[in-house]
Symmetry: C2
Subunit: 252 residues, 2 copies
DNA sequence: CGAACGTTTGAGATGACTCAAGCGTTGTGG
DNA sequence: CCACAACGCTTGAGTCATCTCAAACGTTCG
């Protein structure tokens, strides 16, 4: 089932069998995409949205000198550019990172869902708000963490998200990113990313290789990155019974 | 009209008179809020959303040591926590920055709109996606700009958003933020914010006083912060006929 | 008037950047 | 199947933006 991973494991919003069937039925096409190819360009009107079935995609903004900031990484099960449905035009570019398989859903079909299925519409809306929640976690990462913390936070997040899609066993997953990709996610230079990855390795927290990421100390990595998965709206807390990230509230 | 500024000036999604009337009719209460007070706490279920009529509010995440990262600033006309309607619980706290007036809309009423008014529902969805687009601009700001650029970008953005609400004449507006607020928005220390503001003053770009912000060189400030208002989805380009921010695309 | 809070400035420390070079891996065409 | 080009990774050395700590000053308000 192509839509199998969409909203899987998300609190209170996973899809009913009927809703899955409706989504399957509005898929107009399945496409295979090459790695490192641009899919949607900022500012150009689009008339369909893209559900990511397999592989990794990203969304990014380039600065004046062409230096890139990724604003989102999408994994299997993500509705990559569903927000293009209400927005009509995107404020950023979308590209593949690795080879990918996607399902195409025309906006006209979403109009039909919007007009006739309020509950499914609310869940589609919910899924775009999950993306926004991830944006906020990334803002925290960039605004408040040092370089090691940023990478630790990103890898912790990615581990949990891939677990939802069945692509991580909780400690190991295939990512296929370069160190420069990590840099463009974490707002640091690729030279520094290299040193940060070495440090995570030396501290026995995590081994990053372009092909495989292996987290040796899940809780320690989360602590180093102040990672608290609340913003992922999971049905199950992956850290239940650990004290990895009990937060201090300065008003408490 | 309380909902007057909601989605005002946003491309393709401003409300019809009838839609304004519906929104007005679902307001259960108007409240006055004190400055610096917490309104919604992360993780607690809420059953209404808040439309900001006047004043400034913010959304933020605190780190382990209580250091704060703002993830959004809300101005008059913003639906501060509409995303709490599909999400049910928020991943961050919400507070006032200044004294504020808000209108309360119960989620039950939004259920009715969701069930019977697909077009208005799409516009409400749209407004939450505008917030996400602003999050992305903030990610760019934190990931790719130096301290001076970050502050310049924030002040440029705020100027445009306040213009939409009729609260800036295009160069001057009241903000009422401390330098520490700016720090928590831009991910820098308050000591450094002070030096950055001095620099903007000395470069004749902008004078920030807690009470009044005066932009002396709108285009120069935008250039310094690589500010491109595309992500605000305006009906009118405020920089039309200027060359302030023509972007280089590295694929062009 | 005094307390609390916000702003300003200085001096020294440091995390991340830049520039530069060398090394490893992969894919491809001769 | 080898050679080489392209790309990504690694390391070193020097620089710079921002941070930290500290103190003084200004403003507001009870």
């Amino acid at each position: 089932m192509l839509t199998e991973n969409f909203l899987k494991g998300r609190r209170g919003s996973s899809l009913s069998l009927e809703e899955h069937a409706v989504l399957e039925s509005v898929i107009s096409e399945v496409r295979t995409l090459s790695p490192r190819s641009m899919i949607v360009r900022a500012g150009e009107p689009i008339y369909h949205s893209t559900l990511l079935i397999d592989g990794f995609m990203c969304r990014y903004v380039d600065d004046r000198e062409g230096l890139r900031q990724l604003v989102a990484v999408q994994v299997a099960g993500d509705f990559v550019d569903l927000h293009a449905y209400p927005l009509k035009v995107l404020d950023h570019d979308v590209a593949t990172l690795t080879a990918a398989t996607v399902a195409i859903i025309p906006h006209g079909k979403l109009d039909q869902i919007n007009a006739t299925m309020p509950e499914l519409t609310r869940k589609l809306w919910f899924s775009t708000l999950l993306d926004a929640a991830v944006h906020r976690a990334w803002l925290f990462r960039l605004g408040r963490l040092d370089a090691v913390g940023r990478v630790a936070h990103f890898l912790s997040e990615t581990n949990v998200r891939l677990q939802l899609a069945g692509l991580s066993d909780g400690t190991r997953f295939a990512l296929g990113f370069t160190q420069t990709d990590i840099s463009e996610i974490c707002g640091i230079t690729n030279v520094h990313t290299n040193r940060v990855l070495r440090q995570l390795r030396e501290e026995q927290l995590c081994v990053f290789r372009s092909s495989i990421v292996e987290i040796q100390d899940v809780e320690g990595l989360a602590r180093r990155g102040q990672f608290d998965p609340g913003y992922l709206y999971l049905s199950h807390d992956p850290f239940k019974d650990t004290a990895a990230h009990q937060k201090q509230n300065r008003f408490a």
